[in-house]
């Protein structure tokens, strides 16, 4: 259930940070991905492309990661999935994202991953591109 991540820089109309996910995104590693993005945001990265070309599997906890990543890249405190019950997280605002946000975009989702995104409606939060080059051109 390993997941490897790689960070690369790309240049479209804006500087783009590409985070490539390789392996399986599930309950055992989704918080690590969120932490990676937190580090990127803190280091000044503002446009994130998640390259899912080599992501073979995404469990439902992967959705929590994607959601947190969008919030992080908006400069909002990401929800902490562990604090649960008493946490005062503002889910309402990200839902105001209802119109697709542009800071975080996706590319290369394989059928198994795309199916999860579509089934759960999370795909409506993202612009999803077929591959990296078309995604970079779209930023």
């Amino acid at each position: 259930m390993a997941l490897e991540t790689a960070v690369e820089q790309a240049h479209g109309r804006v500087p783009i940070t590409v985070l490539a996910l390789d392996g399986e995104l599930d309950a055992s590693n989704f918080t690590a991905v969120v932490e990676t993005v937190r580090g990127l945001y803190d280091a000044g990265h503002r446009h994130l492309l998640l390259d899912l070309t080599n992501l073979r599997f995404m469990a439902s906890s992967g959705l929590v990661a994607l959601h947190s990543i969008v919030r992080l890249m908006h400069g909002e405190p990401p929800p902490d999935p562990e604090s649960g019950w008493g946490a005062l997280h503002s889910l309402g605002q990200d839902v105001a994202l209802g119109s697709t946000q542009a800071e975080v975009q996706l590319c290369g989702a394989q059928p198994a991953v795309e199916r999860v995104l579509v089934r759960t409606g999370l795909s409506r939060l993202f612009l999803v591109h077929p591959d990296r080059s078309s995604a970079i051109a779209a930023f």
Partner: protein, 368 residues
């Protein structure tokens, strides 16, 4: 930790079991109940298991442990001899961790075990009596507390339709279990007080979003079944699509009515699907713990194995795929596939079969 008097009797061997194999580096100092130093060992003394037997079964039972050696930095003056036995068992499990870690680990473990028991209480239900139908279900908790739940109940309105809710809180752990505990009665009440499954899910979503109880999401599928007609209405918020297994042996159908997950969007815009269950038809609901189940090789169970397990029940079992046979066939296939590995995610399977009218003993019921 247990704080009993001398355990003695048949419990001793069980308490000692974790000591087997603890090395000779263990050293322990023990005072009796009056505070007098009465026992102990230093590093090269007797093997720990015989020492432990002496402690627990012997005259020291009921005394106090003031220190134990190489496993700890500070004396633990409050431990009973019996709790020492338990803690050492854990210390053995976690290696050379300090006592603070051991105690903390033990506490977390106890809380999680308690959480799991509570959660099972929420999930394990008394199936309602539904004349003319067969209900079957299987629920298996993950290694870590997960967030699956299902609910089968007769609604309060005219005709007492059967309602089915199956849901999966994303993520794991206490947060998921708490959100499950919060959401289950919410969905139940919503189903009972709305005109249909789509509205019930919309209402639940609104509460989840507005009250912001958690950052987690919920996939949920909600259905109502009118009993005399077999008319099944359902709506789906991001959950695995249910399957219809026709009683006439024709291919399994997936009910592809989709909608977004609960808790992420202000409104869902759900549609309902409506189908009619005929005699011998089975409708199957499940969570992704089934299709995401993983073998030691890393391979996932996936849809094709699910379908194969259903077909096996239809072709090989005496009931030609009754609700109970289908649930059991899938459960067995997932268990075999995982080959003894505890599931990483909760597994929930629910099947509802409409009995064939010709089955004697099925007591034809007049409409309520």
């Amino acid at each position: 930790m247990p704080d009993r008097d001398a355990p003695g009797g048949p419990g001793v061997d069980a308490i000692l079991a974790p000591f087997r194999g603890i090395g000779p580096t263990l050293s322990i100092v023990i005072d009796d109940a009056s505070g007098e130093r009465v026992g102990g060992t230093s590093s090269d003394d007797a093997p720990a298991d015989s020492l432990a037997r002496d402690i627990v079964a012997g005259p020291l039972a009921g005394g106090r442990v003031v220190a134990w050696g190489s496993l700890v930095d500070t004396p633990l003056a409050v431990a009973s001899v019996e709790s020492l036995a338990v803690a050492l068992g854990i210390a053995h499990t976690v290696g050379g961790a300090g006592i603070a870690d051991v105690v903390a680990a033990r506490r977390i473990e106890q809380e999680l075990a308690h959480g799991r028991r509570l959660q099972r209480g929420f999930v394990s239900l008394v199936a309602p009596d539904v004349p003319g139908y067969e209900l079957a279900s299987h629920y298996e908790a993950a290694r870590e507390v997960g967030g699956d739940f299902f609910d089968l109940f007769r609604m309060r309105r005219r005709g007492r339709p059967l309602s089915v809710v199956i849901a999966d809180v994303t993520g794991k752990g206490i947060a998921a279990a708490l959100l499950m505990a919060f959401s289950r009665p919410l969905l139940h009440a919503a189903v009972d007080n709305t005109t249909g499954p789509a509205e019930a899910l919309e209402r639940t979503n609104r509460i989840l979003v507005q009250e912001r109880h958690s950052s987690l999401f919920i996939t949920a599928l909600c259905a109502t079944l009118a009993l005399p007609s077999g008319r099944l209405r359902l709506a789906n918020a991001g959950h695995e699509p249910p399957l219809i297994i026709p009683g006439d042996g024709s291919p399994v159908l997936s009910i592809e009515v989709e909608g977004p997950i609960l808790g992420a969007f202000d409104s869902l815009g759900l549609f309902e699907a409506e189908i009619e269950l005929g005699g011998g038809d089975v409708v199957l609901f499940y969570t992704d713990g089934v299709t995401d189940a993983q073998a030691a090789s890393g391979e996932r169970f996936e849809d094709h194995r699910l379908l194969a397990a259903i077909e096996a029940a239809r072709s090989e079992l005496p009931g030609h795929g009754s609700a109970a046979e289908i649930v059991e066939s899938i459960r067995a296939a997932v268990t075999d596939f995982q080959a003894g590995v505890a599931p990483a995610d909760d597994i929930t399977i629910v099947a509802i079969g409409r009995r064939r009218p010709s089955v004697r003993g099925g007591r034809r019921q007049p409409p309520a």
